[in-house]
Structures are given as C-alpha cells and as structure tokens.
Amino acid sequence: MENILECRNLAKKYGHFVALSDVNLTLQRGKIVGLLGPNGCGKTTLIKLINGLLEPSSGELKVAGNIPGMETKKIVSYLPDRTYLNNWMKIKDFYQYFAEFYSDFDIAKAYDMTSRLQINPNNKLKTLSKGTKEKVQLILVMSRKADLYCLDEPIGGVDPASRDYILDTIIKNYNENGTVLISTHLIQDIENILDEVVFIQSGMVKLHASVDDVRIKEGKSIDALFREVYRC
C-alpha cells in the first residue's frame, strides 16, 4: 500500500518570506499524526499545500500518488482553523450539501454525532455560538470516509468535555487505511491519541518520530519535549 503523503524537497515562498524549505516527509496510512510547532512555523502552509489551496514554489507533494487536484480532494477531508461555512444555511442543509459533493460522506453518522453533541440540525449557522459552529464543521469533516483527514486546530475553541468527545470521535472514525493529521498547540490533550509526531520549526521538519520512540528515547512526554525544543 502506497504512502498517503509524500513530500520531497518541498518549499513554499511568499515573495522573500520562506514559509517552508526543503521539507521531506512521508506519512503512512492508518496513523494519527500530530503536526506540532509554534505560530508561523509553516504548519498551516503545509496543510494548505496538501489541500491544493497553495502551489509549491519548488519540490513535490503527492497525496496517494497524485499531485493535489480533483482526485485528491475526493479523498482528503479538511478542517481549517476558521468558519468556512456560510451563515444562512441550516445545519441539515450542509449535511445535504456534503452528501451531494462527497461520495464518501456518511449522512447517518453526521446526524448521530449531531444528536450526541446535542445540536439541533434545524438551526441556521448564524444562530450558533463559535464553539458549536466548530463542532458542526468537525462533524462534517469526520463523517467522511476519507483517506487523509487534515485537522487544523480542531479542539481550540471547544469546551473540555466536548474536547474529549471529539478526540474520541477522531480515534473511532479512524478507518484502518485512513490517516489523521492534526495540527495543534494543545499537545497535552491529544498526546494520548497520537501515533506519530512531526515537529516543524521555521519552515523545516525538525523531527518525525513515533510517540513511543520519543517516550522511550527521550524519556519524556511529547508536551515536555515540545516545551524543550521550542523554548523561548
């Protein structure tokens, strides 16, 4: 089975600013990977490149053997760190929308998650709080049977109880051949569900290892290692 993500000498520049330089990264299928690093280090740039929202300046990026485009968008499920839905549609309208555009969208699962999170699908998005909007976006993304999930700060604006439910959902929705890439600062909360970590600093990959290896070799938690590596 091929790798889900392959980056070779990947670089992205905005004018003179180098957002990513010489990124060589391979992610296998069936893993939950934490993409960690301080603000402005290039995490979101990498995720945007994976989703075809940016073109690389040089190097190569492939998702399941294809460069980002229509074919990869069918198998990548993306949760950005902002509200990307319009305000006037109802939640159930969005489920219908996703069901129509994505053949891997499981509408029954979406409704199930909606009721567990005690959200009314007849509400319009504009009536919801920021936290509830984020939950709805997460439901949309996790209800797809994607090969790669890219979650950019999925638990940032959400209360602790819902956070546990969301992390639980992420593990449970984990289809065996699917990979989840989570970009976050809240390392302590997600550390226990991660299989691998990728540390990025100043646009370069500093570390890519399995969580077990880090704990055994370094003898510390990911959170502690992060604080050490990124000490101000």
Binding site: G52, L54, E71, K73, Y84, N86
Partner: protein
Amino acid sequence: MLGKLFKYDMKAVSRILLPISIFVIVYSFIAGFLLNFEDYPTPVRIVAVLALVAYFLLLVAYAMSGYFVIAHNFYKTMVTDQGYLTHTLPVKISSIIFSKLLVAFLWSVIIVIVFCISIPLLIFLQVDFREIPIREMIEFLGSFDVSYTYTVIIFILLMIGSLFVSQLMIFAAIALGQLLQKHKLLFSIIFYFGLSTAIQTIYSVILGILSIGQIDVLETEYLPDVLSFYNIYLTAAFFINALVFAGLFFCTKYIFEKKLNLE
C-alpha cells in the same frame, strides 16, 4: 457537478433577488395608482411624487442588482473564508466559474421579465393597450424586401454574450485583486475599471475601423444596405465578445488554479 453547483449558487443568490423582484412588481402596481397624483390633495401629492421618485431609483438599482449580488456571492465564496470550502470541493474551477455565470444569465432573464411585467403595471391606468399600433409596426417593417432573421439572431446572441462578459469582468477583477498581498478589494475595483476601459477601447478601435468608408451606406438610408452593414458590425462585435470572454475566463481560471492565496 455543474448541476449541483448551479443549484446551490441559485439558492444563495435567489434568497436575495427573489424578494426584491416581488417587491418591484408590487411597487409597480402601487406606482400605477400614484401616477395620477394631480387628482390627489396636496399632502398626498407630495408623498405620491416622492414615492414615484423612489420607485424609479428602485428600478435603476434593480436593473443592476443581479450583477452586484452575484459579484458579492463570487467574492465571498472564492476569496474569503468560505473559499476554504469552495476550493476543496472535488470540482473543476471552470465548473465553479461557469455555474455562477449561468446563475447570472438566468437572473438577467428573470430581471428582464420582471421589467416586462412592471412597466405595463405602472402604465396600465394611463394607456389603453389596444391602441398600441403593433400590427401596423410589423406591417411597416415587412414592407421592405429584406430578411431580418440573421440580424435578430446575431443581436440576441450578442446581448447574451455581453451579459456573460459583463459578469465575467467582475469575476476577473476579483481574481486579479486577489494577486495582491494587501488591499485586495481596492485593487479589484481598480482592475475592474482598467478591464472595462481596455475592453471598450478594443471595441471602439475594431468597430471604428470597420465603419470607415461605410458612412455613405448609412447616409443612403437604403434599408438592405444599412441592414447588411449592421449585420457585419454585429457579427464582428459578437466575435470580439467571444474572444474577450475566452480571455477573461482563462485568466480567472488560471489565477484560481495556480495563484490562490486565501488569508
């Protein structure tokens, strides 16, 4: 996919344009009564005149509303946060652009129909429609030994083409504005005026060249010759229009495929 995109784009735009359209029709009916304002006492007359002025301003705004509502929809869904949803759908950029152009076309037709309903409603108390000499006008035109078929067809095609180009110019301006790092919206507006001027110039130059030496034809007022001239003129305009459309379309498509940079 184009059908699905069209469905959702129509929903987004119609939720604004449909209520306005209904309001215009209702207001036209009311304005029909207001036109007899001389019959009313003075205070009512003032209100009636103001309401009529407002009505005409409404018509002007309504005529342009289609372009603006669709431009607003394009802007929000392509270059703001909603762009994260639009640009990660498994669809081609050309389908996305085309869907919005089709919505623009359909709503332009609806707006024309609303005008065709509104104007008669406005004047129904003033005019006896049976007195309009439609049959005489048709007989007059038919008395010349010429065929109007080609002229009518090319004119309609040119109108449709112009509609698409007008809307696409706004899309292209938004796309071009997106290339800048700051003040994207301001630059989009500047690009719009730039594109508009450039396209007008192209038309003026080419059609102007075509018209050279044809002035005598127009002066003879001999209908078959005048009509031939207009057929050539309209055909040339149609082809220029088609080329402008292609240029703007590929420019917009290229920018969103290769140069996208959402905040």
